[in-house]
Amino acid sequence: MSKVPADLKYTKTHEWLRTLPDGSIEIGITDHAQHALGDLVFVEVPEAGRAVKAGEPCAVVESVKAASDVYAPVTGEVTAGNPRLASEPEAVNTDAYGGGWLMRVRPTPGGATAALMSPAEYEKLQQEEGD
């Protein structure tokens, strides 16, 4: 069973969200997602300043098996893309919830948000998908 930290929120498209002290949101893909994708060979994250819209693709993760879009869970402005991933995409595999974060976003006040799940709900989703 993949790890599902209790202090995060999740989406049904397998992103995780962490609220940072300054109110911005750190976003990554879950342990379950990285496991399903396999070893990543390429990660494309947005640059600071880019506007992202909830539910729309905002990053690309590519493994030897597949390339997948990552969907923005909130509408807002990117404050940082993880610079480490350009040379070390494998950080997403080894540390999905830490060093493998993809981007930080400052949500637009009153902006749209994707349907978010609690850790328990996300664990249930994983089980349904046969993790």
Binding site: A36, D39, V41, V64, K65, A66, E90, E129, G130
Partner: protein, 492 residues
């Protein structure tokens, strides 16, 4: 066991060579007009081997091929079917080979007649109103198709239509094509049985809808049963239907995309119609259209006036999306497809669909009997089907990739792995119509044997292949540090 063949430089020894085949010294007069600064000052680094060594080297390399002429190849028509040798033989007739594309129409009437008949046969088998042959690959045909959809809307002043709807079971190239054509992609889900979610489709269509791109049967290996409703919904919203011909093999001679309500179709002649395309090309992505899209077809098209054939070009088709290739596409490939269709005839064409489907369903039934899980157990296979090795990955830690690699040891090419992305740990298996029962039974026996190995000695499967020239490759490193060039070491 086959062993790795060295690169020819590694066979090299200074002074060896086929002396009688060395070029004669051209003498200084022959190179007098080449400027000094462009002349080589050092001898080129060339391998030095004897004639027999060179023959053996290249013969051994050719024997390393894992090809449809030597092995069962369950990638199927999605990659390449068996290429009947007669197609090649007739396409190589000197009258075809020596024809110059700039020669006058009067000198190429035989060739033009073949191309005209090919257009007519493709119209008949797909139920479309008109066909153009010039796109040079499947993706090129897709590009032509979506470009025509856009041209159609523009010609009516309907400028807001820039959205292409793509079900998640569509062919992977479809979203890329739509994006290339400047459209916005809207993905819609399929339901648990693999059919398009009609409610999601209803919600997605509107005044911005340019069209929908569909493969039927879909990449899930099942026939889209509600295709007529899909067509009604999209047409009612003012959009057009695009048929990706990737899976045309399943329905050849049985169901026609034109009758399902499609407005545009591309056909992979290099897949469904059996032309060779080793190493990625050349292909032929002919397009067919309904009457309202005919003016937009790419040119040139072969027209017939009485007993004469001629190219229809700009002056005949002012609304055409234009030319997509020099001359008229991959002529040699088109000829091979033409000969294939003529050899099959109308009845043979239906048998392709029938046997492709029968073989897939036979394989699926047998694999299910041996305990493998179908991804869509309630559905009949089309010409291909998906099994999922989720259970094996979870309980035995033996993945779909491990099965695929181990199949090589049993003398079978691996099926498509990890596609479609919707199904975890999947193998997409397509036997095609040309395989006999013996081969299919042997494949199932190998799969069962691998399953037993996975249960009893998983290491044997997870470390496969054992009998190939190379063992398991580090595909992650290969993807990150691509290094394809042999570099000389010591003696140079």
């Amino acid at each position: 066991m086959r062993t790795r063949e060295k690169v020819i430089f590694e066979h090299s020894h200074p002074g060896r060579g086929a002396a009688d085949q060395w070029p004669h010294d051209p003498g200084s007069a022959a190179i007098a007009d080449i400027p000094q600064k462009l002349r080589r000052t050092q001898r080129p680094l060339l391998p030095e081997v004897g004639e027999l060594e060179a023959v053996r080297h290249f013969t051994r390399l050719s024997q390393l091929n894992f090809s449809i002429d030597t092995h069962f190849y369950p990638l199927g028509s999605c990659t390449m079917k068996y290429n009947p040798k007669a197609c090649n033989q007739y396409a190589m007739l000197p009258e075809f080979l020596a024809r110059h594309p700039l020669g006058p129409e009067s000198h190429g009437q035989g060739f033009l007649a073949c191309m005209h008949e090919l257009q007519e046969m493709l119209k008949e088998v797909t139920g479309m109103q008109a066909v153009a042959l010039s796109p040079m690959a499947g993706a090129h045909g897709e590009f032509a198709g979506v470009a025509m959809i856009r041209a159609f809307h523009r010609s009516r002043g309907d400028l807001a239509r820039n959205e292409i709807i793509v079900p998640e079971a569509a062919h992977g190239t479809n979203p890329a094509t739509a994006t290339m054509c400047g459209c916005v992609v809207r993905e819609i889900p399929v339901d648990a049985a693999g059919d398009v979610d009609l409610a999601a489709l209803e919600a997605a269509v509107g005044p911005n809808t340019a069209g929908i791109m569909l493969t039927n049967p879909s990449t899930l290996g099942v026939f889209e049963r509600r295709i007529e409703q899909v067509a009604r919904i999209v047409h009612a919203a003012g959009g057009l239907l695009y048929y990706d011909g990737a899976n045309l093999n399943a329905i050849l001679g049985k169901v026609r995309p034109g009758d399902m309500g499609f407005d545009v179709i591309h056909m992979n002649l290099h897949k469904t119609f059996s032309t060779p395309h080793g190493g990625g090309g050349p292909g032929a992505g002919a397009v067919g259209v309904s009457a309202r899209l005919e003016p937009f077809l790419p040119i040139p098209i072969v027209g017939r006036e009485g007993e004469r054939y001629r190219w229809l070009a700009e002056r005949d088709r002012p609304q055409s999306i234009g030319r997509l290739s020099a001359f008229m596409g991959n002529a040699g490939v088109l000829l091979r497809a033409y000969i294939y269709m003529r050899m099959l005839g109308r009845e043979g064409m239906s048998r392709v669909g029938e046997y492709a489907t029968l073989n897939a369903n036979y394989l699926l039934a047998l694999l299910k009997e041996r305990g493998f899980d179908a991804a869509y157990p309630s559905r009949r296979a089309s010409h291909e089907f998906i099994i999922t090795l989720k259970k094996q990955a979870r309980d035995l830690e033996v993945t779909a990739m491990d099965f695929a690699k181990r199949l090589l040891d049993y003398g079978f090419h691996a099926p498509t792995t990890y596609f479609p992305l919707l199904v975890p740990e999947c193998l997409l298996i397509e036997p095609t119509e040309t395989e006999g029962k013996d081969t299919l039974d042997a494949f199932v026996a190998a799969m069962s044997q691998i399953q037993t190995e996975a249960e009893q000695e998983p290491e044997r499967v997870t470390s496969a292949p054992h009998t190939m020239p190379v063992r398991r490759l580090d595909d992650v490193r290969a993807a990150k540090q691509l290094d394809l060039t042999w570099k000389p070491t010591a003696q140079s």
